[in-house]
């Protein structure tokens, strides 16, 4: 994980929204097995990205990328990539 602001915001989503214990949110943790999320949670994850980061989604491109996410690190990488593509300014 490179951008600490992104890492912090991602951790907040897992802890606040999905009620995952903070100590479990490690880069190598898998979303389904380790954090206990399921396919419905992936829908809510996208909604949270819209709400917290202002993301918009290109269905064709994003669905495949989201489906490929396995770990917290994968997820952070995806979020960072989207932030760059969408040119989103994060609060300092």
């Amino acid at each position: 994980m490179s951008d600490t602001r992104v890492n912090g915001m991602v951790k907040d989503i897992f802890v606040e929204f999905f009620e995952v214990k903070e100590s479990l949110v490690r880069p190598e943790a898998t979303l389904f097995e380790d954090l206990g999320l399921d396919s419905m949670d992936m829908v809510d994850l996208a909604v949270e990205l819209q709400t917290r980061f202002g993301f918009t989604f290109d269905r064709a491109a994003d669905e495949e990328k989201i489906r490929a996410i396995r770990t917290v690190q994968n997820f952070c990488d995806y979020v960072e990539e989207k932030i760059k593509i969408l040119n989103i300014k994060l609060p300092d």
Binding site: F18, M40, D41, D44, V47, Q50
Partner: protein
């Protein structure tokens, strides 16, 4: 035709008085009104309302008591339903193994899906064109079978699951349908009841239809006034109630204490008015329930009336009760004066209240009834101080917008 006897072995209650049946019984027996002025709650919308009274929950079930993966699909409506159901299961001391068996079903009801979730979904849809719904659980909160499905998932049920939606007759019909399923042996145990969340939109609908009380906005505890000459409409309430019904054989096999027996059920529809059931249709429904029970009118010891305190509704019900029980002054009361009208949950909450009256041998009056209206002058109203009276059999009435009537007959259990 041989049919199973159907008994009540547990109940769970979320009423305006709080969580748990004892709080409801305390409120009822103290003749304490749960009705309050809601001007502040309505906020800037208040000027649109004539009616500024309601009976909200004084204590809400904590959604955090529900595991997250179930909670995400529940609006307040389903959370209340869940709480009433787990309390009913605990009350009946049903084992977890039995709850997850194919013979354990659910028949739950609500007027609609969660109105709060519906409002939020439409707000997001209208205000934010890039989002469709607030989250993945939105539909599961809004759908009309939200209580049945959510409770069934959270409890791991595997039997029959039905959802009933008939406004103010909902939970009475749910209990009746569950009774029919148990009688024919389709299930051994069924959770049944109803849930209703209070939302400003619901109050507004009753207001628009001129069915909501508004003359007592500054004296909220004096309304609604069932059967009273000065009544001016009903007061919307909230809550959830669940019964654990089972076949007599099932209850006896596990030595469960039996709280009462559902002996009769009937339902019909009056196609002449959407807003108001006629006296004739109510008479027909009560008579059909008594016929189903094999109980003549003279063996009924108490009638728990629907009586929401609307001008036309109370008059029709009073005349119908007098017509059915002519010649015998059966004690009558309505609990709407205490708790307001919890719509889909009203039938089951009032049935639980009536069960307690049967257990204690003491009847609760219609709160705020001072001078009966002319149509109700011939009824034997439970006196304001209450009435010591042995109850072996009572009748519970419920009538709904849409013209749906539902009546249950309940007896003290005897082998």
């Amino acid at each position: 035709m041989n049919r199973n006897r159907v008994v009540i072995t547990g109940y769970g209650v979320v009423s305006p008085y709080g969580i748990g049946a004892e709080k409801m019984f305390d409120g009822l027996y103290a003749n304490r009104s749960a009705v309050v002025n809601i001007r502040e709650w309505l906020g800037p919308r208040a000027p649109a309302y004539h009616s500024l009274v309601a009976a909200p929950l004084q204590e809400n079930p904590d959604p955090r008591d529900v595991p997250r993966t179930f909670r995400r699909n529940m609006g307040p409506l389903a959370v209340m339903a869940y709480r009433s159901c787990i309390d009913a299961i605990a009350h009946a001391a049903v084992s977890p193994g039995a709850v997850g068996s194919p013979g354990f079903g659910i028949v739950f009801s609500s007027t609609a899906g969660s109105v709060e979730a519906l409002e939020e979904s439409f707000r997001v849809y209208i205000e934010d064109t890039l989002r469709v719904l607030p989250n993945s659980g939105s539909f599961f909160k809004i759908m009309s079978h939200t209580c049945t499905a959510n409770v069934a998932h959270a409890l791991g049920l595997r039997g029959m699951a039905y959802s009933v939606s008939s406004a103010c007759a909902s939970s009475t019909q749910a209990i009746g349908i569950a009774t029919d399923l148990l009688r024919r042996g389709a299930q051994e145990m069924i959770l049944c009841g109803g849930s209703e969340e209070l939302h400003p939109l619901v109050v507004l609908i009753f207001d628009l239809l001129q069915a909501a009380s508004w003359k007592y906005n500054d004296r909220p505890t004096q309304t609604p006034r069932p059967f009273d000459a000065q009544r001016d409409g009903t007061v919307c309430g909230a809550g959830a109630g669940a019964l654990l019904l089972e076949t007599e054989a099932s209850a006896r096999r596990r030595n469960a204490p039996i709280l009462g027996e559902i002996v009769g059920y009937a339902t019909n529809i009056d196609p002449t008015s959407m807003a108001q059931s006629s006296q004739e249709s109510i008479v027909a429904c009560i008579r059909a329930a008594l016929a189903d029970a094999g109980v003549p009118p003279e063996e009924v010891d108490y009638v728990n009336a629907h009586a929401t305190a609307t001008v036309a509704g109370d008059a029709a019900e009073a005349l119908a009760i007098e017509e059915v029980f002519r010649g015998r002054p059966v004690p009558v009361s309505s609990l709407k004066g205490h708790m307001g009208h919890a719509l889909a949950a009203a039938g089951v909450l009032e049935l639980v209240g009536s069960l307690e009256m049967m257990r204690r041998g003491r009847l609760v009056p219609s709160l705020n009834l001072e001078t009966p209206c002319p149509e109700a002058a011939g009824l034997n109203h439970v006196p304001a101080a209450g009435l010591e009276s042995r109850v072996r059999c009572f009748v519970k009435n419920s009538f709904a917008f849409g013209g749906i009537n539902a009546v249950l007959a309940v007896k003290e259990y005897a082998e």
